[in-house]
Symmetry: C2
Subunit: 452 residues, 2 copies
């Protein structure tokens, strides 16, 4: 009997989660993974910490190498292989071996597309110059590290004050490099409301980052093919290197001439089983759309958590174990030296766009009992339905213990809890860990008082 | 017009939460609080940290003094006043001024009983000796501190290895006192399952605590009225002081000859509005029973979180704002030097007693990405309904970041989430804070595999 042949395009979080799940469920399937880069299964989220030096070796970020996949899982993960074409009618792929430049066709019974995302590269003068880096792949992270070691840059400009921009700012500051962020809008961390973004702005200033708000990149000035300055409408900022942190976009170019449908976000449209419009073609990870459980809109979230979950769901369904991925609530956290930033659900801006009537309140609370050493300020903002008090979102900025508190709100959002139910939650308390009323409950108490 | 007169018995968390709520809602009510001790509104949970020296002054544990209540809230909080009798037919109380020994009757329109709990004192020989301490009130904490300063004890025996015993063990070790715990049952921290209790046992041993399991207190040996040894069936342990950590019991002696009903736990029976069987008599805090949301049984939980919540609910209803307290899921956390211990929901023992068919799994995971500096082991145990996968309980033992992770499980329990829904939760991830699959989700993934 012919073995079922599963092909995965993309050997990182989503692809390898799916492949591993298929292998656990079925020892007999043939599983081939085509990965364009040199690496499988690594933590892209760890790249800033490799750059900062907190993580010593790039290899430390690799969860499993192709060798481990082969020997332990009997998964044939072929690095340096790029898929060039997908022919869903004939269930085959055109693949290029990037090392020897050979090309070949490979058939499949089941296909998983897990091509991930890439840093958005602005189409401006000087873009191709040396010293300009995106940091979405391990390879790009290694390039940054090599550049720093060789060129010993003294100053860097980061384009964009979102998660990647901020994490890279921390990393470069730790490396002793002067950092300037230029940010198109009036606030850093555009996934927060402006008032909470302002706290992040202050945290960045405290660690010495120079920030120019309301300034967009116009072009790069180069000299001998090397970037030497970033030009905005207002000024020219000299620099030795540039990090692109203006977001990512799903890798879907490969699907251009296929029958596989994209969704409204530009990412691949899948059902809750991670199945595309073509029955035996699945997709997972940064390249797909998922549903936002509060707005009910399609969203494209490029995060490791979603990649792993959707990969596991795709892999399960590919072997006939029917499970579904219900969607996301938009949880994200990041660290800026001693500061922690977290968000979940919808922001004021998003609620306004959706014409959802909301109320909001912000409180300053503490991470530990006030008398307990090391207690620090935690600011919590909550947003809720004006009529019912149902939670719509939350944002937290603080120091130790701030970020993971967002998980209670993420859980509450998923369970559709209202403010009174959050106040009633039996959350843990001991003086080293919290106040008697956890900061998220104090925020809920303040907000519910607006309903009466 | 005569002012409505509200009397509160007990000036700590529950009583003062209620009194403050009434005041916020109604500036005109007359509010009198009778408090037996010298203090109002203090953090009893903070006492071990005052003993350890982390908190410098006993006063630091006081949230609001009688003076503040008088001046800022117009609440007449009378310390050193003990209520001796309650006459619900005539709506009056007999009160003794403990300073001048005078006694008087005071009438009320609404009464709140918030008498709290006290350390359980075993009825054994030598019990009244000097050097034996309970630590449920600030006064008792101050006595311990004064004893340590004056007598400079070198060794202490703690009776009972529960929360208070363990927190006091940490405190005394920090003060340079050799600590022995004697524990009646085969495991410390009886609110955990034995396998998780064993991790706490190891943590205590690591900080140098000597623990004798399966040994019950028989008597105290005294000399000149001072405790000098603790006697068990197996041995006599010399000591300079003793801490009682064998649990607490609700203060309900005052209700003996009243019509106010107690529940099955021995604590005051109240409805979800915190109303006793007598219409205008309310009760809140350590002295009442609440409902356990999973077992549906009445429980008596002596924790600051529950005291504050039930106090707020009682106060709201006393001024006609109808809100209810749905109940608890049994969340509790504690710290032992670098270790954190957390639990919520039901244990194996409790599930067996309730004849609830359960499955359980335990995983060792990490607090941060494995490659991120400072990542430490977190052990998570989950219990769930064998048929439906609905969460029944969780226990966590680890270091940094272990304890507050229990809040996700407490929220999931309240929202009646099942294991698949926990796996699907959009929990936060960044390398300094978690793994891509949060440890609680890794445990849920392991446990759900037992259902298939």
């Amino acid at each position: 009997m012919k073995k079922t042949k599963l092909i995965v395009i993309g050997g990182n979080a989503a692809g390898m989660s799916a492949a591993s799940k298929v292998r656990r469920a079925n020892p007999d399937h043939e599983i081939i993974v085509f990965e364009r880069t040199d690496y499988t299964s690594y933590s892209a989220c760890g790249i800033p910490y490799f750059i900062s030096g907190k993580v010593k070796e790039a290899d430390d970020l690799i969860v499993r190498s192709p060798k481990v996949f082969k020997e332990k899982y009997n998964i044939d993960a072929r690095i340096n292989h790029e898929v060039l074409e997908i022919d869903t009618d004939n269930q085959k792929l055109k693949v290029r071996n990037l090392k020897d430049k050979s090309e070949f066709w490979e058939t499949y019974d089941q296909l998983l597309i897990a091509t991930g995302s890439r840093a958005f590269c602005p189409d401006v003068e000087g873009m191709g110059a040396k010293g300009i880096f995106g940091v979405t792949t391990l390879k790009s992270g290694i390039k940054v590290e090599q550049f720093i070691l060789k060129e010993k840059p003294k100053q860097a400009v980061i384009i964009g004050g979102g998660y990647i921009g901020i994490e890279m700012a921390e990393a470069l500051i730790i490396r002793g490099i002067k950092v300037t962020i230029i940010n198109r809008s009036a606030q850093v961390m555009g996934t927060l409301d402006p008032d909470m973004g302002a706290l992040v702005y202050e945290a960045l200033k405290k660690i010495g980052v120079v920030i120019h708000l309301n300034e967009a990149l116009e072009s790069f000035t180069t000299e001998n093919g090397q970037v030497i300055a970033v030009v905005t409408k207002k000024q020219t900022i000299k620099t030795d290197m540039v990090i692109l942190g203006i977001g990512s976009q799903p890798n879907t170019a490969l699907l251009k001439n296929t029958k596989i449908k994209l969704g409204t976000t530009g990412a691949i449209k899948v059902n809750k089983k991670m199945q595309t419009n073509i029955t035996n073609v699945w997709a997972a990870g940064d390249c797909v759309e998922t549903q936002h459980l509060i707005s009910k809109k399609a969203v494209n979230i490029a995060l490791g958590t979603v990649a792993n979950k959707t990969g596991l769901v795709a892999g399960s369904n590919m072997v006939g174990q029917e499970i579904t991925f219900p969607g996301v609530v938009g949880t994200a956290v990041c660290k800026i030296c001693d500061y922690e930033v977290a968000r979940t659900g919808l922001t004021e801006k998003e609620l306004k766009q959706l014409h959802m009537d909301y109320i909001t309140a912000t409180v300053d609370s503490l991470s530990r009992a006030g008398y307990y050493p090391g207690s620090t300020k935690i600011t919590v903002k909550l947003l809720a339905d004006k009529k019912t008090g149902r939670l719509f979102g939350g944002q937290i900025v603080g120091q130790e213990g701030a970020a993971k508190r967002i998980d209670v709100l993420a859980t509450a959002l998923t369970a559709k809890l209202n403010l009174q139910q959050i106040i009633d939650l039996d959350l843990s308390y001991a003086p080293p860990f919290s106040l008697v009323w956890d900061p998220v409950q104090t925020a809920a108490r303040k907000l519910i008082s607006q309903m009466k």
